[in-house]
């Protein structure tokens, strides 16, 4: 097996990693504040369509930001439903995903004149290579050549994320309302605004990840292009035990699992399987990972529970 293929698989895996990790990191903030967000997929879809539109109109950087902003606005629907109206978190998340599909078709019709995709070839940010790593021998260097600048940004985002969660007043309070809202309220912490903030962060990062997918990877908006990556991000979050570092590792694993079938279909063992079965690999990996790890992880204590407030 030529290592160039492996390098190419890692390069593609890193792109999938970026989508999964950014979305998962958003989900982490939402869930640590106590709001389960299975609407991440829908938030990403809104990010793809708005990001693609923003790029066509204003260029890739505004496009990414418009995608993030749209994701944030869309996620507020989830915050209003779950925090203010105390709708079941899963119900609201499912509705978010349903609405996003219709909304994307509607907006695509509006922006691009067709319901299911934009014209291909929208501008991207250009590429970078990681100095040093791209010189790796045996073709492995291809993994770090021609990379979207967003990929290293996603890696580096881990540091501020950990800092905010563990060292800032906001992060500590956010976690306290996710673990024990009653106690937090007693200590004078206002639960609802923090939960709105947690959901908003998940919306911004999920929308950004969707825009990244449309702008930097596919070069267009296409219906169904998120392929359930929002749910895989959710799986990575569970696997990562709601901690940024472990989420990073889990996202890398899932990212590579996504890329392997597409880039290593000639590898031993894999080449024996029909193409359709290779495409099942990421899903099977996710199921096994979730089933094998779920008992050993600890979700935020109040995640998924409505907070009735001090009055009742």
């Amino acid at each position: 097996m030529p290592l160039v293929d492996l390098g190419a698989a890692i390069a593609l895996g890193l792109r999938y990693f970026t989508i999964i990790y950014l979305t998962g990191l958003g989900g982490l903030f939402s869930e640590r504040s106590g709001i389960v967000n299975i609407g991440l997929e829908g938030i990403m879809i809104v990010g793809t369509i708005m990001g693609a539109w923003g790029t066509v109109e204003y260029g890739p950087v505004p496009g990414l930001l418009i995608g993030a902003g749209a994701g944030l606005l869309f996620s507020l629907v989830h915050a209003i439903a779950t925090v203010t109206f105390r709708v079941d978190h899963i119900v609201s998340g499912v509705v978010l995903n349903l609405v996003a599909i219709g909304l994307a078709r509607f907006l695509s019709q509006l922006f691009f004149g067709q319901a299911t995709q934009s014209d291909p070839g929208i501008p991207d940010l250009g590429t970078i290579s990681i100095p040093g790593l791209d010189l790796l021998p045996l073709g492995l260097g291809t993994a770090f050549e021609g990379m979207s600048p967003i990929v290293p940004v996603a890696f580096l985002l881990t540091i501020p994320a950990i800092y905010v969660l563990n060292r800032t007043r906001f992060g500590l309070r956010l976690r306290s309302v996710g673990e024990n809202p009653e106690a937090a309220q007693t200590l004078g912490v206002r639960v609802a605004p923090l939960r709105y903030a947690g959901v908003a962060i998940s919306g911004a990062l999920g929308g950004f990840a969707g825009a990244f997918l449309a702008i930097e990877i596919n070069g267009l908006f296409r219906e169904g292009q998120t392929q359930g990556l929002g749910f895989i991000a959710l799986a990575a979050l569970i696997l990562g035990n709601w901690s940024p570092i472990r989420l990073l590792i889990g996202s890398l694993l899932f990212g590579i699992a996504q890329a392997v079938p597409l880039r290593l279909s000639d590898a031993p063992v894999i080449s024996l399987l029909p193409e359709e079965f290779i495409r099942m690999i990421p899903y099977v990996v996710t199921i096994i990972a979730i089933a094998g790890f779920v008992g050993r992880v600890q979700p935020p204590a109040a995640a998924g529970r409505a907070y009735e407030g001090a009055a009742t």
Binding site: V94, L98, V99, L234, Y283, T286, I287, I290, V294
Partner: protein, 385 residues
């Protein structure tokens, strides 16, 4: 305001009346809100909202064949709505109806093609059973994983959906591939005539008013029977009671001696069986073969139908008909206005979300009022005694 002198019986009936009125109020409010949002979008497109809504209604109810068309669209949605609702009653989210019915399409096609020696009165039931069995197998994986390992069914069912799509794509290309010369259209052989579901019009002598282009079949009455059966199961059978107990309070259910895991697995299998029937109207009521461009999205639409129908077997057919009207209305909008037809998909989403929120609000108000009444009776009762 309740007084302590009021007899308990009258109070219960008044609470029930309040509850019903509240539900209707919530539904009306949610509809009004969705219609208002829709009107804003329609006006932004320089169209008249009243005309648009009238067009939707006109296209779906003007003639018998329009109503039949709406019911055809509603048929798969009733099954998928029921599948979602039954699991939801046990506190489970079957997001996997999509994958389950896709696998059901595959097993049903296998039965239709390989059991072609059976007479029609046996082959059609065999196809139905094969569809349900395939979907149940698909549903059993997340169910068992949920109970055994605690893996959340939302994530696992979504992954099973992805696997189902690849599996069926493989089946159409390999074991079920048509034997005839076909270059473009990837599909199975045509099913034998005996495997097809009899049409509604043919069975009841309505050919004069329902043209053959409308594929309303006996699966529609079957869907209504399924609603009745689900109602009987949930509200008149022991397992149904256990399922509802697990869904409303798993702690109390366990304390009451109910095995939560067993109830959840069983109800998930029932949900899977219902899911298996979702794709059949397209498969054996319309096309008569399984092609790679089979109907998708019916499982996710079922989630919407279940929420709109309040997860109740009485509400689900109404919700399915409503979505059927919106689907039929798209034709009208495409012909009579300049609007993109996707506006009705958005309206559907707004409607679901507002219905969910409205019910939540009404329930909260009712709960608070009930608490107040209990408080009033408790404080005044000792004084009387």
């Amino acid at each position: 305001m309740a007084t302590a002198a009021e007899p308990p019986a009258r109070r219960t009936s008044r609470i029930r009346y309040d509850f019903l009125a509240g539900q209707l109020l919530a539904l009306g409010g949610a509809f009004a809100f969705a219609a208002a949002i829709g009107s804003i979008i329609i006006i932004a497109y320089n169209e008249n909202p009243l005309f648009v809504y009238a067009t939707v209604l006109n296209y779906s109810t003007a003639r018998v064949q329009d109503i039949a068309q709406v019911l055809e669209y509603a048929t798969p949605l009733i099954f998928s709505g029921l599948a979602v609702a039954v699991a939801f009653k046990a506190g489970l989210f079957n997001i996997g109806v999509e994958g389950q019915y896709i696998v059901g399409l595959m097993t049903a096609s296998a039965a239709a093609l390989y059991l072609d020696f059976l007479p029609a009165f046996l082959l059609v039931p065999a196809v139905l059973i094969a569809a349900m069995a395939g979907a149940m197998v698909w549903a059993s994986v997340p169910a068992v994983l949920k109970v055994r390992t605690g893996a959340h069914e939302v994530v696992t069912t979504i992954m099973m959906n992805g696997i189902a799509i690849s599996l069926v794509a493989w089946a159409i290309l390999n074991p079920l591939k048509s034997t005839g010369e076909q270059l473009v259209d990837l599909r199975t052989n045509l099913f034998p005539e005996e495997a097809l579901m009899p049409s509604f019009a043919g069975t009841f002598g309505l050919e004069s008013v329902i043209p053959i282009s409308v594929h309303l079949t006996l699966l529609f009455p079957l869907a209504l029977i399924a609603c009745a059966l689900v109602w009987f199961f949930l509200f008149r059978m022991r397992l149904g009671y256990e399922v509802r107990a697990v869904g409303s309070s798993s702690g109390s259910a366990e304390a009451g001696g109910i095995s939560i895991g067993a109830a959840q697995v069983k109800v998930f299998l029932i949900s899977g069986a219902l899911a298996g029937l979702v794709g059949l109207n397209h498969l054996i009521g319309d096309k008569g073969y399984l092609g790679s461009n089979y109907e998708t999205g019916l499982g996710f639409a079922g989630i919407a139908v279940a929420f709109l129908g309040r997860n109740h077997p009485g509400g689900i057919p109404l919700a399915a008909v409503l979505i059927g009207i919106l689907l039929r209305g798209q034709d009208g909008i495409a012909i009579s206005t300049e609007l993109p037809t996707e506006i009705l998909i958005i309206l559907q989403g707004v409607l679901i979300l507002s219905v969910v929120i409205a019910y939540e609000l009404v329930q909260r108000v009712l709960r608070r009022r009930m608490q107040q009444e209990v408080a009033v009776t408790e404080t005044t009762a000792p004084a009387e005694a």
